[in-house]
Structures are given as C-alpha cells and as structure tokens.
Amino acid sequence: MDTFGLLGEGLLAALQVQNLLYALLGVTLGTAVGVLPGIGPALTVALLLPVTYRLDPTGSLIMFAGIYYGGMYGGSTTSILLNTPGESASIVTALEGNKMARKGRGGPALATAAIGSFIAGLIATLALAFVAPWVVKAALAFGPADYFALMVLAFVTVSAAFGDSALRGITALFIGLGLGIIGIDLQTGQARLSFGIPDLLDGIEVTTLAVALFAVGETLAIASSSTSLKEEVLAVKGSVWMTLSDWKRSWPAWLRGTFIGFPIGAMPAGGAEIGTFFSYAAERKLSKHPEEFGEGAIEGVAGPEAANNASAAGTLVPLLTLGLPTSATAAIMLAGFQQFGLQPGPLLFANNAPLVWSLVASLLIANFMLLVLNLPLIGLWVRLLTIPKPWLYAGILTFATLGTLGANGAMSGRLGPIPFSFELLILLAFGILGFILRRFGYPIAPVVIGLILGPLSEQQLRRALAISQGDPGILVHSPIAITLYIIAAIALLVPFYFRLRGKGAVLQQMASDED
C-alpha cells in the first residue's frame, strides 16, 4: 500500500473517539507541564510517561505524541513571556520573543509562534510520513556493523559536535554508557555491575534517570544558586492577533524555518537547537528590517519556532525507522516504545504498521488540537507562569516522585525495619549527580542517550563480531559503515578545529547568542 493509503488508515484509527480523547488529554497535559518554567519537553515527556503505563500501546503512544508536541508549544510560551527558556531549543525564541513582549507585542509573538509551530508541525509530519518509508527501505540493507557505525555517529554528534566542550560532552556520554552496562546482559543472561542488588538486575530505568537529572538536578541547582534572577512575567497586552504586516513577515519565515529544521532533526545530528540557530541566522540575513533584530523582530520568533517544531518531527524519522534517538526527548520516547516490548526500526514498520501510522496520524491531529488549544486559551496557560517558585518546584518534585513510583513502586529496599522504594533512592542519587554535572558545565542529554543507546549499540557490535567470528575487520567492511565513520570523524574534528582557531568561531557564537 502507498503512503497515502497507510496514512489514511492511520487517520481513521486516530479519529476513533477513544484515541481522540487520548490525544486531547496528551496535548493538554503536555502544554500545561511544558508551560511551567524550568520544564522542557524532555522532562515533560519523562514525567508523564508513567501516566500512560496502563493504557493499550496505541492509546498510550497517541497520548504520548500529544504530550511531545504539547510540550514544544508550551515551551515557547514560557520563553516569550518569561525569558527563561526551559529548553535549549527555545533560547532563540526568547531572544526576540521576549523583546516583543516587553514592547507590548506579546500577543502577536505568541500567535506567530503558535501558528508557525502549527504550519511547521503539519509540513514536517507529512514529510515524516513520506520520508520514513524510504529510510526504512534503505535501512533494510543495513547489517549489524552498519547499525553500530550509525550509533557511533549518533554518539559523536550528540556529545562532541556542539556545545562548548567536547571533553565534557564525551564524558557525559560515557557516564551514560557506563550506567547502561548495569543489569542482566541480554545475550548471555549474566549479571553485570549489579553488586548483588536484585533491583539493579533490570538495569537503570531511562525515565528515572531523565527525571532525576532534569527535575531533581535542576531543582537543586536553582535552589542553591545565590544569584536568583528576578523574573517577571510579562502580561499579554493589546491584541493577540497579528496585523497584516505581521502575517506578511511571518509566513516566509515559517516556511524557511520548516525547511531548515526538518532535515536537521532528521539527520542524526543532535538536538533541535541547531536548527533554530540556523533559522535565526537566515532570518537576520534575509530580513528587510535587520535593524529590528535584537529589538523584537517578528521573523526572529516565527522562523526559529517553526524550525524547532519541524526538527522535533524530524527526530522521529531516525527514531521510528532506525531506532536511533538523537535527542533526550527522543531517548525517552524510545523508552516509551520499549515498555510495550516494541523496538522501533525497519521491522516496526513491517510488523506494527497500523500502530506506526496511527501514531503519525495522531501527530497531525495533535497539531490541530494544539492550535485550537493555544490561541484562544493562551490566557489560561499564562496564569501557570505566575506560580511562585517554592510551590512550583515543590510540585515538580511531587510529580517526579509520583512518576518514579508509578514506574516501579516496589518497596524492595530496607533500612532497619523500614522498607523503602529503591527506585526513589536511585532518583535521589542521580538527582545529586545531575546537580554536579550542571555545576561543572556538563551537558545532560548525552547521559540519557548513552544509557539507552549503549546497550543497543553493544548488541549490534556483538552481532557483527559473531557473524565475522571475532574478526573486528567486519566493522569497516561495508561502504555504508565506512561512510558513516567518515562523517563521524568530520563531526568530531571540524568543531575541534573551530575551537582551536579561537573563540570567534561558529560554535562560540552559538553559545554567546544565549546571553
């Protein structure tokens, strides 16, 4: 069947009342949690994953898709009105969006972000539907050695290619890889690094690690900071609607942002923020009003927001077709699939086609719902921004522990006569780890990706070596693998070269745009 037929069937499935309700619940929860300052999409998805445990796989994944897109929409509201981006992909939005809000043009800024996200989400989700079958076809030719090379490439791009220190990025990745060894080895059934603790035999839960690093670590970092920023929530004054000139200036930026964001998300090239930086740079170059940049130019909100959402849909291409997560959010989504025993990859398209296509279709539906939910109801979401910090973070930790207990509530630890939940102890320990990582400038996402992708890459490596009877030559035997290794080497060496050449180079500019 062709893509249209499959997508149509997916739409029929997604339009069932029950699935529509799951999607609505997902986008509402996703927006509400995503709007909260300090919570990005990765944490939104990690916090809400356990909520979906008891649903059937299709319903759960549909709700999940809604949460994912909802979290993206919510994040942009926060960065426009509060200037504290909850996620790195919103940094650029905060740049111009917050300036617009300060000038009393918060309404149009939110509107161009929401409509831009909608258009980008729509185009990118359709692109996902049409690109995915091609990638699946290509992926069927991949052997274990090629998969291993692909994962090595992903490791390099998520840890070393961007950010301000390759050393700290790779170290974060290896911490994740090390945590990934813990537990029963899938192929031989032997326990590794479990120290005789039964709870460690199942390995470290991805959601627990993500919630600990993002929620507990962030809470500790903010509470302990002595220079607490004075944050003010900007009221949405004046009309929410965009003027004719706003529309004229926005729509080319939306389209450009979409076409910049989607391919970057679809390549194993790391997070969504790269696309937003490129889009911002492109808009600044092409704008007829370059003097407005830095003072609240609407293109500077429209383009990056579209790029942000387009690359969010783009990351689903490697995730669904190859089982390759390229962002922390995608890593948690992969964990969401795994809880139902589903392993994304070419076989998922073959064996669970209805599920995949109803997921893609429900992304389209979630996108429509979000547009409706966000434009008229924006005042409601803005009110969530005014929650005072003590209550906000107390609430975040309440939900963090709720999710952890929901995933594994067994009271298997014991301190004297008191039984306790081992999973909560892990949450606390990794929360402190997250705080230390943040304090010393280590990125968080590579840890999460290392944890989930480490065991998968080991599996492919051992499969490849088993085929070759132990000859490591097989790893560089196929042209696909060699090409991937060359790209990985370029991704590692080019930034290194830029860093050596001095601080004026591209990467540093990406970092300095943040202040």
Binding site: P50, I181, F420, L424
Partner: protein, 161 residues
C-alpha cells in the same frame, strides 16, 4: 544553564581534579567487577565483558583529559553554593523515601512538598505541609483510582473505599 565563560584566573581547579579521580574510580570498579565474571570459553571472543572493558578504557582516557583540563583551569566559573536549600530538598526526598511505605503516599509526599517549599524560602512548615497533603492526596486519588497506578497506601489512603 550556565554556559562556560572560561575560568579567567586559569588556576588549577581542585574540584575538577576530584571529578577526574571519580571517573578513574568508576573505571576501576567496572574493570574489577567485570574481571570477576566467569565467561564460558565459547563466548570469550565477543562475550559480555568486551563492552565494559572498552567503556572503562574510555573513562580512564577521559579521566586523564579531565585532569589536564582541571590543571589548566578550563572549567566554567562556578557561583557560590547555598547549602541550606540543598539540605532541605535532599532531606525532603529522604523523608519521603522513609515515610512512604508505612505512612502512605499522601503523608510522605506532603513532607517532601513542605521541605522543598522551605528550601525555596517559603514557610512555615505547619502551613506548607498540609497544602502538600491536600495536593498529594488528590494526586493519589486521581492516579491510583483513575489511572490504576500502584501507589503506596497508608492509614489515610485505606480510609478511601
């Protein structure tokens, strides 16, 4: 996120040396534990010990590089820590951990809620803990009754049919 302005003083960074040591220690633990595994000879070539050794080797290299980086003072400048709030938050998580199995989700989480709010400077506890209790009880009801999540029950949760 505080992205790195490099440490201008460029003095060796003691805390970062500790990180290098910890990385080396983790590598040592991985090597030690992996060497204790008994691997049947048939798996010797591509068995379950290969990957741990590779990661341990990587961690050793990274530990060395971190030590050099620490010596050159290349880590971002850190601001002073307030230990008070950290103690409240970690204390809250520990209190919840120890309370929740016998006192139930609502009471344990109420204490966590109150302690975290206190860590952010909002008190008094006799007010914030009850607020946390109401919230936690509502959450418990919605999630354990509505979404069938298995959450720990205590004397108060058992009152609900």
């Amino acid at each position: 996120m505080s992205l790195g302005e490099p440490n201008l003083s460029r003095r060796p960074d003691g805390a970062a040396f500790v990180i290098a040591l910890v990385l080396a220690a983790i590598a040592a633990v991985i090597i030690w534990q992996t060497s204790l595994m008994r691997v049947p000879p048939i798996q010797a070539k591509v068995g379950p010990t290969v990957f741990p050794y590779v990661i341990a080797a990587g961690l050793l290299v990274l530990s060395f590089a971190t030590a050099i980086s620490a010596f050159r003072g290349q880590f971002p400048v850190r601001e002073k820590i307030n230990y008070g709030p950290i103690a409240w938050i970690v204390g809250g998580l520990l209190a919840q951990l120890l309370l929740i199995s016998w006192a139930g989700f609502s009471i344990g989480t109420a204490v966590l809620f109150g302690f975290v709010a206190k860590g952010f400077g909002r008190g008094p506890l006799w007010l914030s803990v009850p607020i946390g209790f109401v919230l936690a009880f509502a959450i418990w009801f919605i999630f354990s009754r509505g979404l069938q999540l298995s959450l720990p029950t205590g004397p108060i949760e058992r009152l609900v049919p």
